[in-house]
Amino acid sequence: MNPVYYLYLAALLFTIGATGVLIRRNAIVVFMCIELMLNACNLAFVVFSRMHGNLDGQIIAFFTMVVAAAEVVVGLAIIVSLFRTRHSASVDDASLMKL
């Protein structure tokens, strides 16, 4: 088996995650889909690391994880405070950015 199939898998997972972001209204699920996209990228980086025979790709994946953790913390805090004020976790309800 050619390890390039891992890349196809990563692309597939990324696309599924992106579509989920566009389709779901629940902010928490949207967030999960974003995590899925990040994980797909991480998989691609790890495979690239194997492809080139050095550890730089893994380092990038590592940093991605750290950033993802920070993003999740802030994002979930935003969702919680949004829910407190609007009693809803739907991204469509926060639609004040229009005229």
Partner: protein, 648 residues
């Protein structure tokens, strides 16, 4: 000695500041402060004059550098004063006549509540006029030029509660602006041509510039002179300027300010000498104005307006002389000085008559006043003899020289100009005799006169205090008014002779203006004879019409020319039709263009963007997911582009 020059200006300027800032507490002494400071300036002038006389003719130019005004590289303007023979003449005329008129005003304005302010303005005028004649560069001259314009505006509109005075002030100011524009353009042209606007470099290098340039500068300077000196076509303001108090008419609108244009032309003589076309235009303007003013003067029944027409005409003589070049410069200035004496004297006499006649100005309500106002009659009479050029008096010498010079121009031009000048002399004799006869001789038409109709010529406002409908009791004016009149009458009688005998004035001024004798086709004696004949004809016609026959109290309808002359030869109508209407049409079409074209483009652009935005706005539905679709679609496009680039 140079340091005194600044004091000449500083004294009246100080007076203006003190009087205008000082407020009511100076009301009691304000007029004496003004007169004192004006006289101080005159004393400084005399001291400087004595100093100049003690020097060689070539060494009579004093310079005082006060400070650097605009210290920009390539654009230097200094506050520097130049006192030479030409400036000196003006300084003496301005401060001398000015001081006399200050003194006269003490009596004339006695009943006016705002006398202090009046003297403040007079002092301001003196300071500005002195700055004008003492400046050593055109930019500083421009400051004085505008300063006298301001003072003129303030003084014409001094009785601002009268709408006619306020309007006249505004008219004078606006017409003067046209001339001022000419002066500023001339200064800019000088700067681009010579790189400086100081008198010394500009005038000594005048011949280096191309003739076209010099003609342009000369014509712009002439435009400025026309505005300030009420020459055709910018003459329309001077008649209305008589709305101001009579001393103002005497000082500003007869003796000094209106002659600033002549000063400008004579001072810029080097430029005009090198631009014959501009000189020709100057002489034409002078000749036309000379006749124009004289004709207007014949038709006016308002004594001050008749004198105003005369002023216009006499300045026309000066401009004509100045346009003749070196032949005429000296005589222009000489006529300017003698005119300053006799015309100021005539105006003061007119003021004295009005003072005694309840501020009546209509000469048809005068008559036989010589018995009641002997001093006024004698001084006015001497002024009259001087202006018509009675042999031996000032006007005879100065005007005769100008007529000679006009013939000396040579060729057809010389004949035409000389004839105009001669004709003007005849008309001058006519209208001045008319004024004299209507005012001081004949029956006493002011007795038993009917109640004044409201639209009759307006009187000065103080009349209301003195009882407008009461029969006037003509009386001589107080000493404070008669003394200046006597002094000016003495000047009117002797100045011309003093200047001319031994060509004193010519030698005095020649180093500055230069002089050349033209080749006159007529001998001096012939010209004088012709002038005398014209004089006798003019006086004779006037005597036949106004001396032998009674003067009707209501003006007869008169010929077409008379009626036109009563309306100032339709100058206001011309301005109204050509300039006002034309301006209105221009403005209206510009407004139309602005509304349709300019606004159309702007509004159309705005409406276009508005419509586009309205459509684009629908994309902004506020849903984060819609925006995410756009981002995702954009990312897909980027990937596609990248792949395509790789494929290519």
């Amino acid at each position: 000695m140079e340091n005194l020059i600044a004091l000449l200006i500083a004294a009246p300027l100080l007076g203006a500041a003190v009087l205008l800032v000082g407020g009511r507490r100076l009301d009691a002494v304000g007029h004496w402060i003004g007169t004192l400071l004006s006289t101080t300036s005159f004393v400084f002038g005399v001291i400087l004059f004595a100093d100049l006389l003690g020097r060689n003719a070539d060494d009579r130019t004093l310079m005082q550098h006060l400070f650097t005004w605009v210290p920009v590289a390539g654009f230097q303007a200094d506050v520097t004063f130049r006192l030479d023979q030409l400036s000196m003449t003006f300084v003496l005329l301005i401060t001398g006549v000015g001081s006399l008129i200050h003194l006269y005003s003490v009596g004339y304005m006695e009943h006016d509540e705002r006398r202090r302010r009046f003297f403040g303005y007079l002092n301001l005028f003196l300071a500005a006029m002195l700055l004008l004649v003492l400046a050593d560069n055109y930019l500083l001259l421009y400051v004085g030029w505008e300063g006298v314009g301001l003072a003129s505006y303030l003084l014409i509109g001094f009785w601002q509660h009268k709408p006619s005075a306020a309007t006249a002030a505004k008219k004078a100011f606006i017409v003067n602006r046209v001339g001022d524009m000419g002066l500023s353009i001339a200064i800019m042209l000088m700067f681009t041509t010579f790189g400086t606007f100081a008198f010394g470099p500009v005038l000594s290098h005048a011949t280096d510039a191309s003739e076209g340039r010099l003609t342009a500068i000369g014509l712009m300077l002439l435009l400025a002179a026309c505005g300030k000196s009420a020459q055709v076509p910018l003459q329309s303001w001077l008649g209305d300027a008589m709305e101001g108090p009579t001393p103002v008419s005497a000082l500003i609108h007869a003796a000094t300010m209106v002659t600033a244009g002549v000063y400008l032309i004579v001072r810029s003589g080097a430029v005009f000498n090198a631009a014959p076309d501009a000189q020709l235009v100057v002489t034409v303007v002078g000749a036309v104005t000379l006749l124009f003013g004289a004709i207007v003067g014949c038709a006016k029944d308002d004594i001050k307006k008749a004198l105003a027409g005369s002023t216009m005409s006499q300045i026309g003589y000066m401009v004509l002389a100045a346009g003749l070049g070196p032949i005429g410069y000296v005589f222009a200035i000489m006529h300017l000085v003698t005119h300053g004496f006799f015309k100021a004297g005539l105006f003061l006499g007119a003021g004295s008559v009005m003072h005694g006649m309840n501020d009546e100005v209509d000469m048809r309500r005068y008559g036989g006043l010589r018995k009641y106002m002997p001093v006024t009659f004698v001084t006015f009479g001497l002024g009259y003899l001087a202006i018509i050029g009675f042999p031996g008096l000032s006007g005879f010498f100065s005007k005769d020289k100008i007529i000679e010079a006009a013939f000396a121009k040579g060729g057809t031009e010389g004949w035409i100009l000389g004839t105009c000048a001669l004709l003007g002399a005849a008309i001058t004799a006519f209208y001045m005799t008319r004024v004299m006869l209507m005012t001081f001789f004949g029956e006493e038409r002011w007795r038993n006169q009917p109640t004044r109709s409201p639209e009759a010529p307006s009187a000065e406002p103080a009349a209301e205090h003195r009882g407008e409908h009461a029969e006037p009791h003509p009386h001589e004016s107080p000493k404070v008014m008669t003394i200046p009149m006597i002094a000016l009458a003495i000047g009117s009688v002797f100045a011309g002779g003093f200047f001319s005998i031994g060509d004193r004035f010519l030698h005095w001024l020649e180093p500055i203006t230069g002089h050349s004798e033209g080749d006159s086709p007529l001998s001096a004696g012939a010209v004088t004879g012709a002038t005398m004949v014209c004089l006798v004809i003019g006086v004779g016609i006037a005597y036949l019409q106004y001396g032998r026959r009674p003067v009707p109290a209501v003006a007869p309808r008169g010929s077409l020319l008379t009626r036109a002359a009563r309306r100032d030869l339709l100058q206001d109508d011309f301005n109204h039709v050509v300039l006002v209407r034309g301006g209105e049409h221009l403005t209206r079409s510009l407004v139309y263009v602005d509304h349709t074209l300019v606004d159309g483009v702007v509004n159309g652009t705005a409406a276009g963007f508005g419509g586009l935005s309205g459509r684009l706005r629908r994309l902004q539905n506020g849903y984060a997911r819609s925006y995410a679709v756009s981002m995702f679609g954009g990312a897909a496009l980027l990937v596609a582009a990248t792949l395509l680039m790789r494929a290519v």
